[in-house]
């Protein structure tokens, strides 16, 4: 605390309120939550790939078994989901993030970039996606 006068005798305040519509009540926050949630799927995808790497180190049999596992229907669904979420991450990251690089190599774009295409995801979509995922994981275990 410096610069402004000491804050002795401050008055009673009401606690800060969370941003309205956060985390799932407002489409932009939903998009962001979904964006954050992609990390979970990307982690799953990475674990799968690491398992493959591990299988490779164990020899041809293990490798083939891993390939066969990947071909199973629930693994296919999971891989598709990982792909979708990774794509979502990539699109949003580069859509929003192109501003970062552009400042260095070209003119700075003025207003913030809207993401109209991503703005339509309803809350039901997210819930459904999570339910599907839980079902798959349940099936796996």
């Amino acid at each position: 605390m410096s610069g402004h006068a000491a804050a002795e005798a401050k008055t009673r305040t009401a606690p800060a309120r969370a941003p309205s519509g956060f985390p799932l009540g407002f489409y932009r926050y939903r998009n962001y939550v979904l964006f954050a949630a992609t990390s979970f799927f990307m982690a799953l995808g990475c674990i799968g790939l690491l398992a493959g790497l591990h299988a490779l180190s164990l020899g041809e049999g293990a490798w083939n078994a891993w390939l066969a596992t990947l071909a199973e229907p629930h693994w296919l669904v999971l891989s598709t989901l990982v792909l979708l979420f990774t794509l979502y991450f990539a699109i949003r990251f580069f859509w929003v993030g192109r501003k970062i690089a552009v400042g260095r190599i070209g003119p700075i774009p003025g207003p913030p970039l809207p993401m109209p295409a991503l703005g339509v995801l309803p809350i039901g979509g997210i819930v459904t996606a999570w339910l599907i995922l839980l079902a798959i994981l349940g099936g796996l275990l």
Binding site: S2, G3, H4, A5, A9, K10, T11
Partner: protein, 570 residues
Amino acid sequence: MDAIRHDIILVGGGGAGLRAAIAAVEANPKLSVACVSKLYPMRSHTVSAEGGAAGVAREDDNLDLHAYDTLKGSDFLADQDAVEIFVDAAPKELYQLEHWGCPWSREQDGRVAVRAFGGMSAKRTWYATDKTGFHMLHALFQTSLKYERIVRYDEYFATKILVENGRAVGVAAFDIRTGTMHTVLGRAVILCTGGAGRIFPFTTNAAVKTGDGMALAYRAGVGLKDMEFVQYHPTGLPGTGILMTEAARGEGGYLTNNKGERFLITYDYGVGNKAELGPRDMVSRAEMREFQAGRGFKGPYGDYVHLELMHLGEEKIDKVLPFVRELAKNYVGVDPVWAPIPVRPVVHYMMGGVDTDKHGATELPGLFAAGECACVSINGANRLGSNSLTECLVFGARSGRAAAEFAAGSSAGAESGALEQGRSEAARLAKLRGKHGGEKIAQIRRELNHATESGCGVFREEDSMRSALDTVTQLKGRFADVGLSDTSSVFNTEVVQAFELGNMLDVAEAVALTALNRRESRGAHTRTDYPTRDDAQFWKHSLVKFAPDGPRLSYKPVVKTRWELEERKY
């Protein structure tokens, strides 16, 4: 009640105030400066200034030319010695701001760019697109943050200058957040509270411009100088009064009437071939005369004329006038790239203020003032556009240094009287909260606004000014019976409004009184019953002083150095 102690007490944290604070601690790093402001400093009204700040910067220009333009603009009521100091210090102060990071617009070669402005005979107005005041204020505020000896009292409202043994020794100010009155003691006080445009209904001024510093000084027995001179800016938006900067004309914009004529050159309004680059008082009068001749457009908020920028093209508008475009689009639904902007004269600036000398010192030892709340005077009867931002810097710095010198050279002295005054201010505040009474703040303010507009507008005459003065005097009486609903001590903005209204009434009374008694037309003070300038009788500053039974009016001479009085024609 515990006193807060500093060396210099600054009231107001706008352009002049922050410049004064920095100047004071740079002049003497041992001093501590309290910055008492009723709003966070970066909210101060300097933020709304758009067009630019004047200071000689080019080879084709010189200090004498700037001084002459300023004097002529002032209709020769400015003090010539003050103007000489001002134009000389102006470039240095503007370079200082550049060194502090102000993002001035630039030429291709990296030099600071300058633009044309009304009444200026050379390009000397430095600018940061059309948000000059905003950038200057934020640069000053951010720079002020690095000085640990500047201590801010954000959202503290000063109610009284404390006087002990004929010296200003501090202020009584209450913390709006807690509602607690504090006695802030020091060895010098600087007032930088800005103007009082809010006494008028249509103004470019922010809500906070209620003449607080002027009223504080007035109540402390210090004279208010040249209060009759109220500048109308010719290009405000009807209704809101939002400013369309003069730079719009400086960059080549036109004013046109309902016949599509550029009336400033079609009819003889004294601006000659300057046309749109005429000074503000003349252009405002020209607009009013167009309205009287039926050549204005009719709108819900009265007549207006057109400000045309279409011929400048989108690229130039976006480059040099982006804020004008943004404001016009938002507030009147007009994109100046494609359509003219409706504008009318609106109250913009008080040339008058607390009577100070060249160092910002008032007649009360220890009390200084700078910026719009002060009157040195360099603005005389009419300020030239872009001189005021520079004035904040030049005289803010000078008063800061003068106050530092005064503070260092004086002892703290007795303070029992000041503490007693602080206690009585605390009692006044407590009494005001939730005070019962039949009068409403909003109602008195509306009647005040109506009186000033009808009596002290662009054109003035004896009867309407007299009735305006009578009305203001009556309103002061009614204000004693004002009733408040808000009894809370926490962020009670109604109490703040009550103090502000009291201040506005004092200032409005001074405006009406001086205007009534100046029986001539000079600069922004235009009387239909005395249409010419009368140097023999009125080449003098008016001075209003407080007395318990009503304000006292006197006059003091204008300082002349090298320039002869001449007819003001462009």
